[in-house]
Amino acid sequence: MSKVSTRLFTLLMLVIMSLFAAITFGPADIDSSQLLACMIGSCQNQVADIVIWQVRIPRVLVALVAGMGLAIAGAILQNTTRNPLADPYLFGIVSGAGLGATVANISLADNLTIALPLAAFLGALFSVIIVVFIAKVLQRMEQLLLAGVAVSFMLASITQFILYFGEPFATNRVIFWLMGSLARVEMSNFYVITSVLLIAIITVLALHRQIDALLLGDESAASLGVDVDKLRLLMLAICAALTATIVAYCGGIGFVGLMIPHIVRQLIGVTTLKLIIGSALIGAIFLIWVDVIARSSLPHAEIPIGIITSALGSIFFLFIMYRSRAIT
């Protein structure tokens, strides 16, 4: 077994162990024997059964696929744009989702359970369409990131304008949603995110050689038969759909897509196949444990998950900058 295979296998084991370990954390006092009994379907305590199957397991499973999805989206964007700072959030996806959520909150007071994620999803897709349109008009696909940053600020300013004049309760709801949380996720969310994630993974696995060819430049990839613009657009659409789905259910969880691929490149490798598999595994472990921290650090409250990922991400970012300074 090669070094890379050994590391991937170890990570897979860690994912499985994290899944089971994370279920043991939570405010309800459930001991390990009770937990085991409930998991194999012979639960004596009905409350424990509900907590495990309707709260903890959906939450851990959504953390698993959301972590995988955000990390994979970052990895795809970084390889297809050859930019190690590319992140789904830089394409205005969260700002778009925020605008969608704001509009839903302000205009639809009822039925927010369905309307909020749906509006966030539509808002995220709307922002990506604007970004791609601008890059197309400029005829410079490499300016996608800059266009994304501009669109992100534009949509954020519209959101803030609406919130400023909005009803305080609705404004609060949007702000808390934007901080990110897995507190209200359900099993159905897991199925939706998993479906989009599977489509993304299958597409990337099919096209991994084409994406790799981009790593030595657009001209080099084109000489190997790759339709560079089409491939980049397809990958952007996949990342947008994946991130928008996750953001719609979990709110804003920043920096995962930026951070995880950097770690994977050091541990596993830089080519797409290794990067995607590694990002999926490390992204899952990361978000499962960040969610555990979010729900167990304070006695009677949860810390929004986006606050923790952003705090860790910014420290990580500064660490990378410091290290690159030391190298150069």
Binding site: R82, L205, R209, L215, L216, S223, G225, R265
Partner: protein
């Protein structure tokens, strides 16, 4: 020798500028052809047309035809073109830490289907190609940490893995010192495949190419052996410098020397720019 490529009546014009004008020539299997000329002569543009890069030949700015094995190049898909032509450019950099093996695997792309993984045969082809360019030891090395000459050799090895019939090189000796310039061109010369390359250094082109195409302002001025193409009067007219042709005592190749005399300097500074 059988004809592989046939370029006839090739024109490329953009508003206020003629990039290529009425280019005609054929390429036979096994030839090593050098395209020479001053800056802005259209050398790289000609290479781009040959491989129909970014579908140039279907744009309204171009006319004429490029035929590969008697079939218009515009009828080939991008993947088919990649199966026939391998392109090695002046410089390739990656921001990520790609290994030589990663770069070599890119050469397999035109022959691979979706989802495909590397086979043992692929690995043996990669090892064989690297041994041909003398870099067997570098399989696990980082591409960006190799010297410029080694990087060019890796890209030539990638072209061998690509198993194309025609190798296209755009200024393969740019950024290389004298030793690596000779090393890379000697390697290309010994591969026994059809090669078309743009070369800035006329003496290197003469030494390593069987046939030269001299371009100036988008026109094909001369097509022939190095001795014919490197005629002093012709080169003097194009480069605007007095030129002398001689035979190298060691290699026996035609060589040219240019002189910048004091009176020539006055002519140059008062005349039109020599190149773009």
């Amino acid at each position: 020798m059988s004809t592989l490529l046939n370029i006839s009546g090739l024109n490329w014009k953009v508003p206020n500028k003629t990039i290529l004008q009425d280019i005609n020539f054929t390429v036979s299997k096994g030839e090593v052809i050098g395209i020479i000329g001053p800056n802005g002569a259209g050398k790289t543009s000609l290479l781009r047309c040959i491989i129909n890069q970014a579908n140039i030949l279907t744009s309204t700015n171009t006319s004429g035809s490029v035929q590969l094995k008697n079939r218009p190049i515009t009828h080939f898909s991008a993947r088919e073109i990649a199966q026939h032509f391998a392109l090695v450019m002046q410089k390739n950099d990656s921001i990520f830490a790609l290994s030589v093996q990663d770069v070599m695997k890119m050469g397999l792309l035109p022959h691979k289907s979706l989802f495909s993984l590397d086979s043992d045969y692929d690995k043996s082809q990669i090892e064989l190609a690297l041994s041909k360019v003398g870099l067997s030891h570098a399989l696990e090395s980082l591409f960006n940490q190799l010297s410029g000459g080694e990087q060019q050799r890796v890209l030539i090895a990638r072209a061998l893995v690509q198993a194309s019939q025609i190798l296209i090189l755009d200024e393969p000796t740019n950024h290389l010192d004298v030793y690596y310039q000779h090393q890379v061109l000697q390697l290309v010369n010994k591969l026994n495949i059809t090669v078309i390359m743009t070369v800035h250094d006329l003496n290197l082109a003469s030494l390593y190419c069987q046939r030269l195409l001299l371009l100036n302002k988008g026109q094909l001025i001369c097509d022939g052996s190095p001795k014919e193409v490197l005629a002093p009067e012709q080169l003097s007219n194009i480069f605007g410098l007095p030129c002398q042709q001689n035979i190298d005592a060691i290699t026996g190749a035609t060589q040219v020397s240019f002189y910048l005399k004091d009176n020539c300097m006055q002519n140059i500074t008062t005349s039109e720019p020599l190149s773009e």
